[in-house]
């Protein structure tokens, strides 16, 4: 865990759960797993608050617990999971593009709440959808419709069950265990419980529940006593982030193929990826082999290409030097696989190249690509091959060396390592360069967040004022005030102030957009590093 990552985790936790949770979370990230009492002592926080914070973190799958030998429970932070919070908007947006508004809300609620039971989730999403359907009075969202979307999400593995509490615990004699054991049942990970959810979303127009005046606890008991036990009690669901990552990766592959060749070939690759979506585990280096006949049958119906054309395309793809698609056999008209490992490597290399190009200019990028291609080069060779004057080439090489994009390998001719009898070879190690770049990305995102917080803090007073004025205007419009009056209120914010707000909004938007886009690079680099470490 590097400092940059910890810093980013701290900022993310603080924005999502407030300062107390941030304090506990960062402490756990720094120190590794610890029992409750030590956390409370070391952070100088009251145990009550530590408990609350831990509950929140566990609920959001950011902290796991484990029973230790002597019966104490130790808590451990999942740092990489904390960093995923940066990607929440992208997950939600993906759900929207795949499963429209209902899917969007389901994933959003799951991410906001960490984990939920299906019944609670469906109810909540239906309520929210109904609320947005204003205007058309009486129109409501049916529970059945939401649950069918949920089932589709589960079928495509975008949501999955949380580990269940093992039932053996209760029957055991002796004192109950200090913590429940959670077990994962691989077979029902995506099995949706049979529920008959009948009903419609309600508008929150009247809070008659609150008006009854009953104390909360009592009301709660009331509701659980009255109704039959919740049918899917204890079965919690969470968003399956790995599946989302797989989807992002597939999208990246498809667009890479489209850029390299053409639309048709990208459509073929998309079909291949879709066919092996669920059968291929997310970390596999290859997709399952698919015969060209199978691919032909699965092509989208609107796509009118003949079998011959498809075969030509597949051969073309397999012959491509980047080796995105490989031929694994000749049976069934040719078996094809997608080399996921290779693809991620190419994407990461392309990212590195473009970073070098944008940071140091195209001539540096030329040297970088040259060294990448030739593996090891001496300084003199670089100057010659790149056809760049010696002085400039030297300058560029040293710059990239000092920024850690390149490495210098010494090969001594004699055992005394005398410089005059040593070869100095420049190389590029993509893996280490990718790690370095990833680290930088974490740092940039942390900087972006800090800058954004600074900007908003600087203009806090102004923002509050504009919010208040907007609220007044809205309420006056509702009561039907005259145009002149509204004008008067609007003038409470002076022209320079308005300008300042505009600038602030623009800056914050830019910072936010940058955060999202840096995260795309983070995703690529992380996937590449992960696929590489898994292989070893």
């Amino acid at each position: 865990m590097t400092q940059a990552e910890i810093k980013l985790c701290s900022l993310l936790l603080q924005e999502h759960f407030g300062e107390i949770v941030e304090k506990i979370g960062v402490h756990l990230i720094r120190t590794g797993s610890q029992p409750l009492r030590v956390i409370a002592h070391d952070t100088r926080t009251s145990p009550d608050q530590v408990k609350k914070a831990l509950c929140v973190l566990i609920q959001h799958n950011l902290v796991t617990y484990q029973v230790h030998r002597r019966g104490t429970v130790e808590y451990e932070a999942q740092c990489s999971r904390v960093l995923r919070m940066l990607r929440y908007p992208r997950y939600i947006y993906t759900a929207k593009t795949l499963y429209s508004d209902t899917g969007e809300l389901i994933v959003e609620e799951l991410l906001l709440n960490g984990k939920m039971t299906m019944s609670a989730l469906v109810k909540r999403v239906a309520d929210r959808l109904t609320e947005t359907m204003e205007g058309t009075d009486g129109k409501t969202m049916d529970y059945a419709e939401v649950s069918s979307t949920f089932v589709r999400l589960a079928d495509t593995h975008f949501v999955q069950r949380c580990p269940l509490v093992s039932p053996t615990e209760n029957s055991e004699p002796g004192p109950p265990q200090p913590a429940p054991t959670l077990v994962i049942n691989e077979n029902d990970m995506y099995l949706v419980p049979k529920l008959s959810l009948i009903g419609k979303g309600k508008r929150r127009r009247s809070s008659e529940d609150d008006a009854t005046g009953e104390p909360k606890a009592k009301r709660l008991k009331h509701s659980t006593d009255n109704k039959e036990p919740i049918p899917d009690d204890g079965i919690y669901w969470q968003a399956n982030l790995d599946r989302f990552h797989q989807h992002f990766r597939d999208q990246a592959i498809v667009s890479a193929v489209a850029n390299r060749m053409d639309q048709t070939s990208s459509e073929i690759v998309r079909t291949m990826l879709r066919m092996s979506e669920i059968t291929t585990p997310s970390g596999a280096p290859f997709t399952q082999p698919l015969s060209s006949n199978e691919i032909f049958r699965s092509l989208p119906t609107g796509y009118n290409i003949s079998k011959q054309v498809l075969d030509q395309y597949l051969t073309l793809l397999a012959d491509d030097p980047l080796e995105f698609v490989g031929k694994s056999g000749d049976s069934g008209g040719g078996m094809y696989v997608i080399n996921l490992h290779k693809v991620l490597g190419s994407l990461a290399t392309a990212t590195l190249e473009s970073v070098v190009q944008e940071r140091f200019g195209s001539r540096c990028a030329r040297i970088f690509r040259l060294v990448l291609q030739k593996k090891h080069l001496e300084q003199k060779q670089v100057e010659d091959f790149a056809m760049i004057p010696a002085k400039e080439a030297k300058d560029m090489l040293y710059k990239m060396l000092s920024e850690n994009f390149m490495l210098l390998q010494e090969i001594p001719k004699t055992p005394d390592h005398a410089p005059s009898r040593t070869f100095y070879l420049y190389t590029v190690n993509i893996l280490s360069a990718a790690r370095m770049l990833l680290h930088r990305c974490y740092k940039s995102v942390a900087n972006l967040i800090e800058r954004r917080q600074f900007e908003t803090k600087e203009n806090k007073r102004l923002l509050e004022k504009s919010q208040r004025v907007e609220a007044i205007i809205a309420s006056m419009q509702a009561t039907g005030a005259e145009e002149a009056q509204l004008q008067e209120i609007e003038e409470m914010i002076t022209a320079p102030e308005r300008q300042q707000i505009e600038t602030l909004k623009r800056n914050v938007n830019k910072l936010d957009a940058s955060e999202i886009q840096v995260d795309e690079t983070i995703f690529l680099l992380e996937s590449y590093i992960e696929s590489n470490t898994k292989r070893q």
């Binding site: 030297k394 914050v508 886009q517």
Partner: protein
């Protein structure tokens, strides 16, 4: 090493020409300060991607940021009291729905102990005000202290102070024990475990914050 190279020549162990400096050329100055915080960049950054998807994600992100503040999971720090109470503050309070964690999925120690807490603040307050019940039981306390002194003969006097207060605490909990019925036995086991622990003594001594907190939400099992 450098001595036997003779005067007036740079004492490098390697041939400078190999790194690209001709003989007699001035070497760059040694840099002794950190690089600037905001260095000039040679190349301007490329503009951000824009498009429908990007705009939507931006809106989502900003909306999400506001939403999480209204979720029950967002624990706010207790604000320090301001000199002037602001009128607007009253209207800025956000409504949060309560959240009841599923205790079955959490370690048992996470669960706020209801019984203990109801009894807890009472005894704590007693501790603060110092009188009332503790007076009636002074003899008890003294006896405990004596016992402890005997036990802790070898220990440093520093720790004795702590021990004394800790024992007060213990005696108070003894009282509770008498009041409490057998149903609480289970919870009590834990307490005893805690007492064996070192942390608890030091913690209860200066746990001012704790007292305040537990007063606030002593009988709420919900977060």
């Amino acid at each position: 090493m450098a001595g036997n190279k003779g005067r007036g020549r740079a004492a490098y162990t390697f041939n400078i020409e190999a790194v690209g400096f001709s003989r007699g050329e001035r070497l760059p100055d040694v840099v002794l300060k950190p690089p600037p915080l905001f260095p000039d960049t040679d190349y301007k950054p490329v503009p951000l991607k824009t498009g429908e998807g990007e705009d939507y994600m931006l809106a989502l992100k900003q909306e999400l940021r506001e939403t999480v503040k209204r979720m029950p999971y967002f624990i706010e720090t207790p604000e320090e009291k301001q000199d002037i109470e602001r009128y607007s503050k009253r209207y800025m309070k956000v409504y949060k729905e309560e959240w009841i964690p599923d205790w079955r999925r959490l370690p048992r120690e996470m669960m706020p102990r209801k019984k203990f807490k109801k009894a807890g603040p009472k005894s704590k307050k007693v501790n603060d005000t110092g009188k009332d019940t503790s007076l009636t039981n002074t003899a008890d306390v003294l006896k405990k202290i004596e016992e402890l002194e005997k036990r802790g003969d070898g220990e440093k006097s520093d720790e004795e102070n702590e021990e004394k207060e800790g024992s007060k605490e213990k005696s108070k909990e003894d009282e509770e024990e008498e009041e409490d019925d057998a149903a609480e036995q289970e919870e009590y086991d834990e307490e005893e475990q805690e007492e064996e622990n070192d942390y608890i003594n030091s913690y209860f001594d200066n746990g001012d914050d704790f007292i305040v907190d537990s007063d606030d939400n002593m009988d709420e099992a919900t977060y």
